[in-house]
Assembly symmetry: C2
Homo-oligomer: 434 residues x 2
Amino acid sequence: MDVQDFTHDPQRRAWVTSANAPDSDFPIQNLPFGVFSADGGAPRGGVAIGDQVLDLRAALDAGLIEGEAAEAAAEPTLNRLMAMGRPASRALRHAVSALLAEGSAAAARGDAILLPMERARMHLPCSVANFTDFMVSRDHSMRLGALKDPEAPLPPAFDSLPVAYHSRASSVRPSGQGVVRPNGQWRRREGVHFGPTEALDYELEMAVWIAGENALGSPVPMSRAPERLFGFGLLNDWSARDIQRWEMPPLGPFLAKSLCTTVSPWVVTAEAMIPFMVPAARRAEGVPPALPHLDSPGNRERGGMSVALEVFLLTPAMRAAGLAPARLTATDFAFMAWTPAQMVAHHASNGCNLLPGDLLGSGTCSGPTDESRACMAEIILSGPIQLPGGETRRFLLDGDEVIFRGRAHAPGAVPIGFGECRGTILPAPDWPVD
Amino acid sequence: MDVQDFTHDPQRRAWVTSANAPDSDFPIQNLPFGVFSADGGAPRGGVAIGDQVLDLRAALDAGLIEGEAAEAAAEPTLNRLMAMGRPASRALRHAVSALLAEGSAAAARGDAILLPMERARMHLPCSVANFTDFMVSRDHSMRLGALKDPEAPLPPAFDSLPVAYHSRASSVRPSGQGVVRPNGQWRRREGVHFGPTEALDYELEMAVWIAGENALGSPVPMSRAPERLFGFGLLNDWSARDIQRWEMPPLGPFLAKSLCTTVSPWVVTAEAMIPFMVPAARRAEGVPPALPHLDSPGNRERGGMSVALEVFLLTPAMRAAGLAPARLTATDFAFMAWTPAQMVAHHASNGCNLLPGDLLGSGTCSGPTDESRACMAEIILSGPIQLPGGETRRFLLDGDEVIFRGRAHAPGAVPIGFGECRGTILPAPDWPVD
C-alpha cells in the first residue's frame, strides 16, 4: 500500500474552506463515509468534508463522479460498498478527493452537492450484519480482573489471542439516539432483585467495520487481514455492571450489553488511517511472541493505530449551570495489546465467515495512566468522580450525556478526527410493562 | 388460543396419502414452513406434507391460495412472514390445511403444486437476524459444571434466569451442509498450541424462531411472549471443547461455536405445537418460584413442550459395513428448566429488540438419565462411546455424520415430527492458508 498516496498529501486543500481549518475533524485527508438524511428525505450515502456533507447521489446526478463504487456508497446503507472490498473504496476515495480539491470544477456546483452537517440526520452507516466485541486492553482487563482475582487478574488466554465474544447486532444505534436505562436482574443481600440498573457505565471503544467476505470454513491469514478492514469509528459499549456481574458466569455478558451500543456515524476508512498506523504494541515483559497465525512483519511494523480518544460527561445540572462537558477519560488506541488485523485473523481462524457490515468493537481502550481509564468502573476504583459544579458520580444517572471524541495525529500528516459518539440516558420503563 | 382448532383434529387426513402414514413426520396436523429449491431454480417457500413439498408460489399462481401471508411465505426467506406475526401465520395455516385436506378440489392439481421432498434442496428458512444460545438444561449444566467445581456445578444465576449468550448468526447453515473441522488455539502441557480441534462435539438443541418485533427499549412481558414464538426446529451447536475451554474465561464461548451451527430446515409452527404444550418443568427442590417478570399462569400450565429428541451417529466404517446409524442420545425437551416464552421475556427484559428471523437455541437438551445426555462431553464422562462394528469415539472424527431427529407425541393428538438435522465432519483446512 502506498503511504505516499496523493490523498494524504498534507499540502492538499479543499474548496470547502471549513475543511482547511487546523482543528477540523474532516479535512480533505479524511473523507469518511456515512449515511445521512435531511428534511425528511430518504437516507443516502455521503462524505464528511469540513462542516459539510458531500451528497454522493447529488454528485452522481450532476455527473461529477461515476462508477459502481460511487453508486454503492450513495445507497441507504454502505453494505454493498463494503462488500466490494478495499480496492473499490480506495478508488472511490481518490475520485472524491479530486472532486473536493481546491481547483476542482466541482466547486462551482457546491450548492447542489453539499449539505451543512448541522442539517443532516445521521443513520447507521450500514446494516450491522454481526457484532463481535473484543477485550484487548491489558490495563482494562487487569484493573477489572483484579476485583475478582488479584493474584491472576488477566484471562488465561489474554496474551495468546485477542479475547472476544459475540455481542448483539440488533441494538446498535447511531450517535445521538437516547439510551433507555435497562431493567435487569442481580443478587442483593436480601435475594435476587429485578429493577432498573443502578450501575450503568460507558465503555470507550473503537469500532472496526469489515470489508469483503470469506466463505464459511475459509480462514483469513494475517497477510490478508488488513484488506478486510473497511474503516473505523467510535463505539460506546453501554454496560450495566450489576446485571453483568450476575449473568456472566459462565457464558459471558448478555443483557448487560445488549441494551444499546452507540457508534459514531462517520466511518474513517482504512485508507485515511494509513499515515496513523504505528508498530503493534510491544508485548508485555516475559510474554512470548504471538503464534505464527496471529503474527506478520507488516503487523509488527504498522498494525497498530494511534488515535487519541476522549470521553466527556454532561449532566443535567451542569447543562443548567451552563458548564462545559467534563473530561473523564483521555487515552489512545495505541495502548491496545492486539491490532485490528489480529482481531480479524483470530476471528476467522476457525473458518468463521466475516461479512461486509460486520462490526468489531475493540473493547474498552484503557491505558496504564489514571486519566486513560476508559470506563467508570475503573475510574471509581479510586473513589467517586468529582464533577464541575460539585456533583459526584459513580455510575450514570438519567439525563447524563456521554460524548466520545477521537483524533489521529502523526508527524507530517494532517490530523483527522472521528466526529462524535453521543448518547443521553433515558429513564427505565415502568414495570410491569403491558 | 383455541386448542380445539380444526387443524389439530386427529381425524383430519390429507389427499397427499403419504402424510397419513402413522410414522410420517409431516401429517396434515403439522404443516411446517420451509424454503426449498429444485432443479436449479430459485429458492422459494413451501410446506412439508408427507413425502412432498407444497410449492406455495405454484399454489398462489394456480389460485388455490391467496393473500399477503401466503405471498410472504412463498418468498426466498420467511422473514416477512415472521414479521407479520402469529395471527398471519395462523390464518395461513388454516388455508393450507383446507387446501391439503381430503376432499379439497386442490387434489386435482397435485402435480402442479407438489414436489417430491427427495428432489427438494432445502435452504435456511430465513435470513438469521441474530442468534442467541441459551443453556436451560439443569442436567447438562450440572454434569459439565461439576468438572470445574464439584461443590457448585451450576452457574449462580441458573435458577433465577435462563442463562444465555449471544452466538454467531453468519455461520448458521441448513441440515446437510458439511461441517469443516476448525483450527483453533488451546493450551497443552508444552505450551499454547494452534491446530485442528481434537475435541469436536455435537450439542442437541431445539431452535426457536422469533415472530414480530419489539422496539429497542420496550420489554416483552410474559403475557405477550408466546406471541413472539414463530416456530421450532432442531439445532446442532457444534462445539470444539479444547478451543472452548481455553477461550471462555471470562467472556464466554466464541470460536469454539462459531465454526458452524446446523438447523433443521422445516419450521414447525407454534400453532402446530399447541397440542404438545405441557406444564413448565417443576422447579428443582428448594428453588424459589421464578421472579414475577418471568412467571405467568399460562406459562406454568402450558409453557413447556414435550418433544422426544434423538441423536444418531454414522461413521465412515459403519457406512462401509452397511450398518445403521447408532443412537447416542434419547432425551426430551420437557426436561428443560426454562420455557421458550421465558427465554423471550428474559431476553427482552432489558429492552433488547428481538427481530423477525432471530434464532434462539435452547442449549443442550440433556435430561437426568444416562441415555438423555445430549452431547459427547457428557457421555464420555463414563468412558468412550462404543459403536456397532467395534469402533469407539470420544469426539467426532472426519467423515462422521451426526443426525438429529425430533417427534412430538400427546394423548389424543396425531404425532408430528421435525424432520432431520444432519451434518458430516469435513477435514480442517491445511495451515498456513493463503
